[in-house]
């Protein structure tokens, strides 16, 4: 049993040391250095081409305000006047605002349509995904048809179809559609829906809401402890909601009673000390004994006797006051102005009898009048939230919120397209839960909705969330397609900016940086959520 002696030490060492020109570690470092040199070389070529072409093509890109040429002045143009209009903005924007303001509005528009589409897509996708697995054959196949139709056609085609053939084909405002008699108007200039407006007493009410939420939590916890002690179910959902509603309701009335900010400026000679006095005024004008008879008069007399009101456009005071006047049956006409001084002018010129606004504004305006003491500010009660209901007035719709056709088309298009993708993901997630789970749930006696809610969805969610992140990111990026139908999202605004100012390179870089930031932020948030809910494997 002779053992082979190990090779002499020197031979082993000779076998183990690799010459440096073959050593992969050193070669790796050389490869990286070579790579960096290559990248720098390519960048040098591109930069020299760029400099050469800039002289020819794009010198204007880097001209400073004082006319000198410097790469550092790339973004100086952003402070100059924009000169183009944006049709759909949340903030006020004039075409004399700088490019910065236009760009910022573009970002807000993109975020507005993107986040709303994300919420709607989630609901639609979950719904259709669950319905896709329904036992009713018709419902199942309809969901399948929807998914296949919307996933096999391009998004842009769907957007064009929805915009041109559905939204623009809606009737003009005069004949706007009103589905089911609700105060919602569908017309080719937009969709008008009722919108809530917050008055100044809303702050008080929100404080009460916070207290109501705390109340709910308190009831929840207390009843939960009682459940654990006695083992019997206490109806804590019901009691919690009752407590919440109680406090919120009290808050509503308190806010309305305590707040004292809304008022109406009118001549003292009218002898209106409170809103009920208006009834007397109208009755006297129209020569009636009872206010209800006002409807029997012909239209011109009603218009002649009507109370003339001036307000700022889209103000909560208008909605507040008009609601109360309507409730009392007092006829009124409204004139809307954009600025406070315009309203005061009209009031002084006696084109209207009253100016409704918040008391602070009225006090300030009253002090500018010639004879402040001949005008009084009448107290007007208010609610924390007043609903502005759209009403058809001649050729226009007054009140409510107007969703423009481009915004609606983009929202609907994105929701339907990504809802279909999400539905497939949800279906795959639900089907990934092993069959044994379903059988066990049924064996325990859970009904179908409990099975879905308590057993299937928690496990399915872990499989659904990673592809869901991809869907959300694609959705946020595809808001850029708004340019094809005229929605002024960030891409469209940047495009116009580049055309207007000629600064292509700085504009493009800025826009791509913003998109990258949005993608990065979304991705980080969703990945954090994914990490939290990942399947714990043993």
């Amino acid at each position: 049993m002779a053992q082979t002696a190990p090779p002499p030490q020197t031979e082993l060492q000779a076998q183990q040391s690799v010459p440096f020109w073959r050593d992969t570690r050193i070669l790796g470092i050389f490869a990286q250095i070579g790579f960096i040199i290559l990248v720098i070389f390519i960048l040098r070529i591109l930069a020299s081409n760029f400099a050469a072409n800039t002289d020819r093509l794009g010198e204007a890109q880097f001209i400073c305000r004082d006319g000198t040429f410097s790469y550092l002045c790339a973004y100086d143009f952003m402070s100059t006047e924009a000169g183009f209009d944006i049709s759909d903005t949340i903030l006020d924007y004039e075409n004399t605002d700088p490019y910065w303001s236009a760009f910022y509005n573009g970002i807000l528009n993109s975020l507005r349509v993107g986040l709303l589409a994300v919420v709607l897509t989630t609901f639609l996708g979950l719904f259709v995904g669950i319905v896709r697995l329904s036992s009713n054959w018709l419902v199942n196949k309809i969901a399948l048809a929807y998914i296949e139709l919307f996933r096999n056609t391009p998004l842009l085609l769907q957007l064009f179809f929805i915009y041109f053939t559905i939204i623009l084909a809606l009737p003009p405002i005069k004949e706007a559609l009103q589905p089911l008699g609700l105060p919602i108007f569908l017309a080719n200039r937009g969709l008008s829906i009722p919108s809530p407006q917050f008055t100044s007493s809303a702050a008080v009410w929100i404080a009460f809401l916070v207290m109501a939420v705390i109340q709910f939590q308190v009831v929840w916890i207390l009843l939960g402890r009682q459940e654990e002690k006695t083992g019997r179910p206490s109806n804590r959902w019901g009691w919690g909601i009752i407590a919440f509603l109680l406090v919120a309701g009290i808050g509503w009335f308190v806010a309305g009673a305590v707040a004292n900010t809304q008022g109406m400026l009118t001549l003292k000679a009218n002898r209106i000390q409170e809103l009920d006095d208006l009834e007397r005024v109208i009755m006297r004008r129209a020569d009636l004994n009872f206010l209800e008879d006002v409807d029997t008069l012909p239209a011109e007399e009603i218009a002649a006797a009507a109370f003339k009101l001036c307000v700022l456009r889209d103000s909560a005071s208008e909605t507040n006051l008009s609601r109360q006047l309507r409730a009392k049956g007092i006829p009124y006409t409204v004139r809307r102005f954009d600025r406070v001084d315009q309203v005061t002018e009209a009031y002084v010129a006696e084109e209207c009898e009253a100016f409704a606004a918040s008391k602070s504004v009225l006090a300030a305006e009253r002090s500018t009048l010639e004879n402040p003491n001949s005008h009084s500010i009448v107290n007007v009660r208010e609610q924390p939230i007043v609903w502005s209901i759209p009403v058809l007035e001649g050729l226009n719709i007054a009140g409510g919120a107007r969703l423009r056709p481009e915004f609606t088309a983009l929202l609907i298009g994105l929701t339907l397209f990504y809802g279909a993708s999400l539905a497939e993901i949800v279906r795959a997630g639900i089907q990934s839960v092993t069959k044994g789970q379903n059988e066990a749930a049924r064996a325990l006696g859970l009904n179908e909705s409990q099975r879905l809610r308590l057993v299937v969805m928690p496990q399915a969610l872990k499989v659904i969330i990673p592809p869901l992140i991809g869907v959300y990111l694609s959705l946020m990026k595809d808001t850029s397609l708004g340019i094809a139908i005229g929605f002024p999202d960030m891409y469209a605004v940047t495009f116009t900016t580049i055309n207007q100012s000629g600064r292509a390179l700085p504009g493009m870089i800025l826009m791509m940086l913003v998109y990258l930031t949005i993608s990065l932020v979304f991705s980080l948030i969703l990945n954090w959520y994914n990490e939290r809910s990942k399947m714990v494997e043993r």
């Binding site: 081409n49 056609t153 391009p154 495009f495 580049i498 998109y515 993608s519």
Partner: protein, 559 residues
């Protein structure tokens, strides 16, 4: 009378027996929970309202639907009570009429579907006009489709503004591909592909030449310039022979005199043939910006996939590279020195002039160097190659596609060497290929990760070098895994090519704007969109179906 009804109820009760319990039936279907009761009531009210409305418009059809529905209920009930078994009854009971709410829902859906089908039929067939020449606004029927626009604008839809006298070239391309594809399928089916190396080589050569053939036919070959330029000949020859030598040195190709002759002759022959074709004037050049319609869609989709494959491969391999990274004691000092230098020169220069807030923040860009150094060290262990690949992939995936297309069009003139202009379409294809390459890189990386690590180790153990390992062991297996993903990418490119309409190219969707601007076809968008939608739908559907079939054939996930 009483005897008859008495015996009838006895017969019914006898048949049903104890198989039916009213209490359980009510509990399962209606009163089980508050939600269920509310849902059944709402459904019942809605169905009744809809039935009454539909009765007003289509009395006969609605009655027919109601009769069918009732028969279905009887069959399902008979099945459920085990009175009479039938296949139809069983299917109805499980799928359509399994509970009260499902029954009502089925009726509701049947009525809605009928109304929908009826209005679509009215628009598309009954009220529609099909005459190609009667499409002017005065000849149209406002309640129906004007399908004449499809026939009239057929050329525009298929090839855009391609010169009409050169349409024979497009037809040649179509015939070429039908022949090549058909012959390949036949050869595959009869087994000749597997058996004969000659057949394989011939067909591979033809498939590899097809992009050149398409280019010659559709874009033409310019005739000007010297017939043969010696410098291009020599440079091309050096490149080709150099590649051959490199592949032989890496032992990926076997040396044989035949292959050496083939490689040497390849470039001169191809070059001279190109020049000869150009000189002969058989295929005069066509302005590439005239391409449009379905032809442009297919060209963009195929070019993007073909181009993005090598780019994606490079990005994937770079992302996966495991070379030893640059150590921290080099990265951090360099980063800190660069930051300090940047802060002292650039930042102070920017802040010297009056700036608004945003520009003041941007002035501190050198601090980003520290951030990048940290990410390089922490996530990539100092590996610059992997970091750059990952950065490129994330950048390209984080911006919308049209920004990349737009950037391609705007930036191309800035970065091209003097004198070379890039047509819009090539810039768009390049930008789109970049975008697709990022997604392709992730697919290929997934494929490479799915391979068992033992394959890599075994290849190293038998002494294969990197190129041999890739060519003979890794790529054949990885590609089999990746091919369904690639087909999915192709389907996505086919659909997303519609986005180039936004940057001004008149492919299938963009040509609609062109068509509708013709006064005769004003406002006929609906018909065009429906037609184009059908084309996209059929194409995508068939390709997805084929991809699913190919997945099972290739045995993905089973081997």
């Amino acid at each position: 009378m009483a005897a008859i009804t008495g015996s009838l109820t006895e017969r019914i009760q006898g048949t049903i027996g104890r198989r039916f319990n009213w209490q359980y039936f009510l509990q399962d279907n209606i009163t089980g929970s508050w939600l269920l009761t509310v849902w059944v009531i709402i459904l019942a009210l809605a169905t009744m309202a809809l039935t009454i409305r539909q009765m007003g418009t289509f009395p006969t059809e609605t009655t027919l639907i109601l009769v069918i529905w009732s028969i279905g209920i009887l069959l399902a009930v008979a099945e459920g009570l085990h009175i009479r078994h039938s296949r139809v009854g069983r299917w109805l009971k499980t799928n359509l009429l399994s509970s009260v709410s499902n029954t009502l829902l089925t009726l509701f859906i049947m009525l809605v579907l009928y109304a929908l089908a009826y209005s679509i039929w009215q628009w598309a067939v009954v009220n529609a006009t099909f005459d190609e020449n009667a499409v002017a606004p005065k000849d149209r029927n406002p309640d129906g489709a004007t399908w004449g626009v499809i026939a009239g604008a057929w050329d525009l839809l298929m090839v855009g503004r391609f010169p009409r006298e050169a349409l024979w070239r497009v037809r040649t391309v179509v015939i070429f591909f039908i022949l090549l594809g058909g012959l390949s399928l036949i050869v595959n089916k009869i087994g000749l592909w597997a058996r004969s190396k000659l057949v394989r080589s011939i067909f591979t050569v033809f498939w590899l030449l097809s992009p050149v053939v398409v280019y010659i036919l559709l874009a033409g070959v310019p005739a000007e310039g010297a017939f043969v330029s010696i410098s291009s000949l020599i440079i091309g020859e050096i490149v080709v022979l150099g590649t051959f030598a490199f592949l032989w040195w890496q032992k990926v190709i076997k040396f044989s005199w035949l292959s050496l002759i083939g490689w040497t002759l390849f470039w001169p022959v191809a070059y001279i043939a190109w020049r000869a074709i150009g000189r002969s004037g058989l295929f005069p050049p066509i302005n590439v910006s005239l391409w449009g319609g379905l032809m442009l869609t297919l060209i963009i989709a195929t070019s993007v996939i073909l181009l993005s494959f090598p780019m994606g491969m490079v990005l994937a391999l770079g992302r996966r590279s495991e070379v030893r990274g640059i150590p921290w004691w080099i990265i951090w000092p360099v980063a800190i020195i660069a930051t300090i230098w940047g802060l002292s020169t650039s930042t102070s220069e920017i802040l010297a002039a009056p700036r608004n807030t945003f520009e003041k923040i941007i002035a501190f860009w050198p601090l980003l160097i520290i951030v990048f150094a940290y990410i390089l060290q922490r996530t990539f262990q100092g590996n610059v190659i992997a970091a750059t690949s990952a950065a490129v992939i994330e950048f390209v995936r984080g911006v919308p596609l049209i920004t990349l297309l737009f950037m391609g069009i705007i930036m191309a003139p800035f970065f091209m060497p003097e004198g070379i202009t890039l047509e819009n379409i090539w810039a768009v294809i390049l930008g789109y290929a970049f975008f697709s390459a990022a997604y392709m890189a992730e697919l290929i990386r997934g494929g490479l990760q799915a391979l068992p690590r033992g394959q890599f180790d075994a290849a190293d153990a038998i002494g294969l070098n990197s190129l041999q390992k890739m060519r003979f062991i890794i790529l054949p297996q990885a590609l089999r895994i990746v091919i369904p993903g690639i087909v999915g990418q192709f389907i996505g490119s086919f659909k997303s090519s519609s986005l180039v309409a936004i940057v001004g190219l008149a492919e299938l969707l963009g040509v609609v704007t062109l068509i509708v601007s013709n006064p005769a076809w004003l406002g006929l968008r609906q018909e065009l969109f429906v037609f184009i939608g059908i084309i996209y739908f059929t194409g995508s559907f068939i390709m997805s179906w084929y991809s699913r079939r190919m997945e099972t054939q290739l045995g993905v996930g089973q081997r």
